[in-house]
């Protein structure tokens, strides 16, 4: 029995690869019911009146792109379809390209104009200090947007002086930025905060959901898929749920099989 466990690990790699490719090519429908935390973000956006200011923090870089970029795109579809004003920024040096790409491509589908309907403020260092700076005065934190336009002249920012006037802040987090936004931002400036995060961070966020410090949460690709389904823009995340389901089952079978072999061989040795 034990020799089954000593197979070349490359065989396992091949099994996983084939499983992902096949389940991507074969098309079968899977139900994707929205979970409560995802509904929280969706409901909040639905409740905002036209012209409200939504800020998106793109706090990730290419290494988490496959989980968070689909979320960003689905969320932007929702904002622009409801005629909300969207302001983007990031704490990550690797993010501006991805953020700019997501905002511009979705905005173009709704004929939204840069500077009037949306603005991307770009990257700034400082993390906690940056959030406090934005909370006290957005224009001293971001004197210029990503393309060098003076922020005081941007129509989209009219009526916003600091984080206090932001109607909803959505953080797309690959690291610990959600906690940073809660401690240094929401705690004092009292804006509504929702988040999307990588699956790795997901379980850590539940205490904040129950304490209402987060009004909603999109966890990993599953969260992105639920949001795509809610908004009616099924794309990468929804079709990714097929291989996700299949490979989860394979991995669970691996764990069960490995443990059966482990215990039978241990018992055989003891007998």
């Amino acid at each position: 029995m034990e020799r089954f466990l000593r197979i070349d690990r490359r065989i396992i790699f091949a099994i996983i690869t084939v499983a992902v490719i096949v389940s991507l090519i074969l098309r079968f429908e899977l139900p994707i019911p929205p979970s409560e935390p995802v509904q929280g973000v969706y409901g909040k956006i639905e409740s905002l009146p036209k012209g409200s200011h939504v800020m998106i923090a793109f706090d990730y870089d290419p290494s988490s792109k496959e989980e968070l970029q689909p979320m960003a795109i689905a969320f932007l579809h929702h904002c622009f379809s409801r005629d909300l004003k969207v302001i983007g920024m990031t704490h990550y040096t690797g993010a501006p390209g991805l953020a700019d790409q997501a905002m511009t491509s979705v905005a173009n589908q709704y004929q939204k104009k840069p500077g009037e309907d949306y603005a991307f403020l770009g990257y700034k260092p400082g993390a906690a200090s940056l959030i406090i700076n934005m909370g006290e005065n957005l224009y001293s934190a971001f004197p210029k947007d990503f393309y060098g336009n003076d922020t005081t002249t941007l129509p989209v920012l009219q009526g916003v002086d600091s984080l206090r006037e932001i109607d909803f802040l959505f953080d797309l987090a690959a690291g610990t930025t959600i906690e940073t936004w809660i401690v240094f931002g929401k705690e004092k400036y009292k804006f509504e905060l929702g988040a999307g995060c990588t699956a790795v961070m997901g379980p850590d966020m539940y205490p904040f959901l129950q304490s209402k410090q987060l009004s909603g949460l999109l966890g990993g690709l599953k969260g992105a898929a639920e949001y795509e389904a809610l908004v009616g823009k099924k794309a990468n995340a929804v079709s990714g749920m097929r291989p996700q389901s299949v490979v989860h089952v394979i991995i669970i079978l691996f764990v069960i099989f490995g443990n059966i072999v482990y215990f039978t061989s241990r018992r055989a040795r003891h007998a």
């Binding site: 396992i12 290419p62 700034k124 989860h248 691996f254 490995g258």
Partner: protein, 217 residues
């Protein structure tokens, strides 16, 4: 000299710490202005840290090349990638770097077609290692790890659509695990870690924790 090297930093840390902690409780306009100015300064200082990271990385690969460490040839590609990106970045699509950033330049192309695919791929390699570890090493050695694995299996099934097909209870159980035992443990950890963070902050303010001074005199 010892005064400048040791005492002054400790005094700065103490003054800044006490000042900023007190600022929180004073709702006066002056105190808010202070917060704005200081936070702006701090984020400017933080910007310089980028160059520390950049310098150490350049330095690391330069020493490899200089000392001809095994595999030093690959370090040349770090310089190649960095220099080509810097050149196109400073050229800024023919408008040069003292003008505002231009859209759709060669610099952006390098980001979209080198940094994005490579960065996304490197971390996805771990998917394969998790699969192989699942097969070869995730063992229910103890009662604790048995509970851990069972919870993991339920969550993994409950969080993908296929869980619905097996049984409608599986997603419900997964939701319960997340919202009750997981929440409770994570809140306990959070409270503990926060107390630890407060203790560390106090130690920094009162000069007990001095590791930020680095070594030497």
């Amino acid at each position: 000299m010892n005064f400048l090297k040791r005492t002054v930093p400790l005094v700065i840390a103490f003054v800044m710490g006490v000042l900023m902690a007190m600022q929180y409780y004073v709702p006066h306009k002056l105190s808010q202005d202070l917060l704005e100015v200081v936070s702006r300064w701090d984020r400017i200082i933080a910007g310089f840290a980028v160059f520390i990271g950049a310098y150490s990385l350049f330095h690391l690969h330069w020493t490899r090349i200089k000392r001809k460490v095994e595999g030093w040839g690959y370090s040349i590609f770090v310089y190649f990638g960095a220099i080509i990106t810097l050149i196109f970045g400073f050229l800024n699509g023919g408008k040069f770097f003292w003008n505002d950033k231009q859209q759709g330049t060669m610099f952006d192309w390098l980001y979209y077609y080198v940094q994005v695919p490579a960065g996304a791929t490197i971390f996805s390699i771990l998917a394969f290692f998790i699969a192989s570890a699942a097969y070869r090493t995730f063992r229910a050695r103890t009662n604790e790890s048995t509970v851990l694995l069972i919870a993991a299996v339920l969550v993994m099934l409950g969080r993908v659509p296929i869980g619905n097909y097996i049984s409608q209870y599986i997603p419900a159980i997964a939701d319960w695990i997340m919202a009750v035992p997981n929440l409770a443990a994570k809140r306990g950890i959070l409270l503990g870690v926060s107390l630890g963070a407060i203790a560390t902050s106090l130690k920094i303010i009162f000069g007990i924790e001095r590791s930020y001074l680095g070594g030497g005199d």
